[in-house]
Symmetry: D3
Subunit: 208 residues, 6 copies
């Protein structure tokens, strides 16, 4: 009796606190390998040991995800992680996580970590340059970004209170959706001419 999904209603699977789901479990499907022995990659992960290349995109940053898609062991446990690497001057551009609060640790270098409050706060801007070892918290659903203000590479590891926090990169969402948001809408929203909108749009035709 596969009861993983219903146990999820209790905020945590019974099975995942004991023996993980077998290969034939309909919840995981045939692609799921059976965690076979102590020491395997089920409750542990090496995925964050190597970051990606921050220069592979215009942002100068790279996100290595450890959400439920990449780390099945967090399934039903309402947690996940990310590692982010930054080139000098690189940014993890303004974004929000629609389904999680985030806590983070700067693990290397220095990072400007900025959080902007909601309308109720007068869009208050919280900002600090954090060094390795310092931590930050991003309340659920608020816009935030990091910026590598130093001349060295920098990295951080963050954790979420959701197995699938999601990410909405604000510039990409506004200017690079599929299909695109009509230009008049964005011109009205940004209070500028259509040419300004189209200029920015042209920067996101390549996506992320």
């Amino acid at each position: 009796m596969p009861i993983d999904s219903v146990a999820a209603a209790d905020f945590g699977s019974c099975r995942y606190r004991g023996l993980p789901a077998a290969a034939t479990d309909p919840i995981y499907g045939s692609a799921s390998k059976l965690p076979s022995s102590a020491g395997d990659e089920f409750l542990f992960s090496s995925r964050a040991t190597m970051g990606g290349d921050p220069m592979s995109n215009p942002n100068g940053s790279n996100v290595t995800e450890l959400d439920v898609t990449h780390w099945p062991g967090v399934n039903t446990l309402a947690v996940s992680m990310n590692r982010v690497d930054f080139a000098p001057g690189g940014t993890n551009p303004p974004h929000i996580h629609p389904r999680a609060t985030e806590v983070g640790l700067v693990t290397r270098g220095e990072l400007l970590v900025d959080i902007i409050g909601s309308l109720e706060s007068g869009n208050r801007y919280y900002s600090k340059v954090l060094k390795a070892g310092e931590t930050f918290v991003i309340p659920r659903g608020l816009m935030h970004f990091q910026f590598n203000v130093s001349k060295e590479e920098a990295s951080m590891v963050v954790s979420f209170n959701s197995q699938n926090p999601g990410i909405v990169f604000v510039p990409l969402t506004m200017f690079g959706s599929s299909p695109p948001i009509p230009t008049p809408v964005l011109a009205k929203a940004l209070r500028v001419d259509a040419q300004v909108v189209d200029l920015i749009k042209s920067k996101f035709t390549g996506g992320y």
Copy 2:
């Protein structure tokens, strides 16, 4: 024994399902008036009967909030509402609610209602012109907007599954925070020159 706050842990106040808190309740403070009789404004509200002036700001839209600050009766009940009025061509600019999913009803006129999925969906753009009587749902934390595509005024009433959903207006948050986000950060994020950023910033010096 004021147990409203602890009862909130059960997702719903004991007291608010019976007799509301008295004036001296420390949770509500002295400013709270005692709901006195059946028929008063406690579980009922007339606040949505009159919308605000949509022409009082550059967006051409006006939000009348019925969250817990404006409608104490929803306290601990994990619901709230808003009425939004639109001038012709007016927009409720791209925004997110950090703490709630929203369902809405167009009550007058026609509105373009658009929702943009997260990165995982390829920033998929959902879009439809809705007439009075049609409904829409905005998954928690996703960016969305409405635009009055007609030559008549339009209105909608929306509901949230939080007593305090919050709102993050995207352009205002990026370009009108207090204090402002540094221009180089936004130039990097938007992939444009500082002048473009400063131009847009200049449009939000007056706030919302």
Copy 3:
């Protein structure tokens, strides 16, 4: 890897915030059509534009449901809606929603909206005649009803903080269950003779 059900543990499906489930998704089964394009009936619904005939049953009211069964787009999002239409003198008889708090908007006409508190409140009776544009909130699990006190038709649109709030119509549940509640039980509960119980039971043999 179909993870919709487990993602539900995070209070919202990952997939439904991006690309919806395909036709072969085991969660939805083969009867589920693939939401094909922006503008379709996935995150939008036209179902509330037309109400049902309030004279088709003895109550003089008709409920058009937009819960997860009728609007798959709300799946995992903890919201749903209903439209209710009333003939003059019609009533949405005393009922409770076992799994949701409700907020409502009178959209046409005038409605007496009544809510009765729990035993703890001394069964306090909240009551008000609401006009179009006015709103109300029904705390989770409390008995309530609406009654069209005018000579015109009336309508309301309500929202729930559950995708499947359920409904327990009190008279129908007491007097028209399947099989019926034994008459002696109801006679004892209502403190009347069996004939009175049987009289009321006879009115509900046709069901809703």
Copy 4:
């Protein structure tokens, strides 16, 4: 720093898992005595050892409550209990708990335990005579009742997954609210004449 109320957001108070709140705690107020030593009535209760007199009201049953008002130790823990005693022929009349699922144990005698499903189930009626030692579950918000079908006294102890489940006695709520529901509303809802409604109302003028 009294953080009990905020810790409630984590589904359980920090303080209550260690040293309980002091007498001056604003959450509990001055009426709260300090749990002083192991063995006191904080995490333990003797309240259910003695039931009340089931003949003191027309129902022939008596409820001894152990919710957060009567057992402060369950505060923030999302659990509570009740003991109910039944005279022969006594009933715990049809009622719902607006904020909890209930599990119960018959501790003495025999009880008819009945549960009626929601409209979606066709108001399906689940029914069984349970002997001492047998158990039952009442899904959240559904109407249910117990009836002592034997010639001996009977008792049960039930538990809830809320510290304050609340109770809505259906006949009392319909016919004995304060102030009363207008007779024409109930006549319409029950599909009977006003005299029948007024007859039943007259039985509840004395309340519970």
Copy 5:
């Protein structure tokens, strides 16, 4: 359309409040029998009427579980129960329930019921001998045990606010895991020599 798993996101299945899942439901699988009629073992259970033999193991106690595996009717309802029987001198050894708060009723005899607070409380030890009819609450995740201090058998029935609370027996987990925890780790943790650890380990080679 099998929506049980997703409805779980609303804290309670729609289906289980009405007609239960059929035999072919993919969530329950073919082993699941169809609850056929009112009065069956779906919302009711006789499993707690007979306890197990407390002398069948070294603890002198026996647990009869009524969690979702043994009582499918509690599925999605966030409740479950246990009956525990004790021989004279028997103990339900120190254990924790990782996913639930527990409330309990002593149904026969006398039991020492002990609860130890977390580090924050200075590991405060709550302790009381309870007689039949007395109740206790165990905050989620705290270590606790019962001990039959009398010369008669004793029993209790407990309820949880999870359909699958889980159990971690502390001595068994430390000294009888599979494979075993390395002795040097336990010696360091317990601040004793390896021989002491190995002595205790030898007592748990037979398991529970």
Copy 6:
């Protein structure tokens, strides 16, 4: 109107997503300092930059807590963190967090990270030596420990999905509670003589 506590019912304070509570806020009391400006220690913390002395106690490890007591910024946000430092051969002895799942990152050195499943899994023992950069997840309420198997110091930073996860150190709770658990109870539970119990107890008279 201080509504922080009630907003907590919505899984996140309104106020904390905007302007933090003032010094006179009854929820925080007079000891709470007003977060004064962007860049302060409200949403940021330097507390994890310096670990404690792992040789100051018999375990050879030191925990630096960043829960809500030490980092008020996480209040109502359902997250918190810890830094733990290990001497060579040091251990974070077997413990459980009663109210949270944990994810962790080894930041320095090598650590044996071990997790023991519940009874349902046969007390399955998950074990791996993790190097700096590797991560692990501890399902809510399960017993686990870390052990520094190298000759160098080691450190880790962990995150919780609760602002106040709590900690139950198993040996300390069993053998060093206040007042102590009676020796016969522990002798019965561990299946050894009283002398063995008293020997271990003697090691914990100094506490943690």
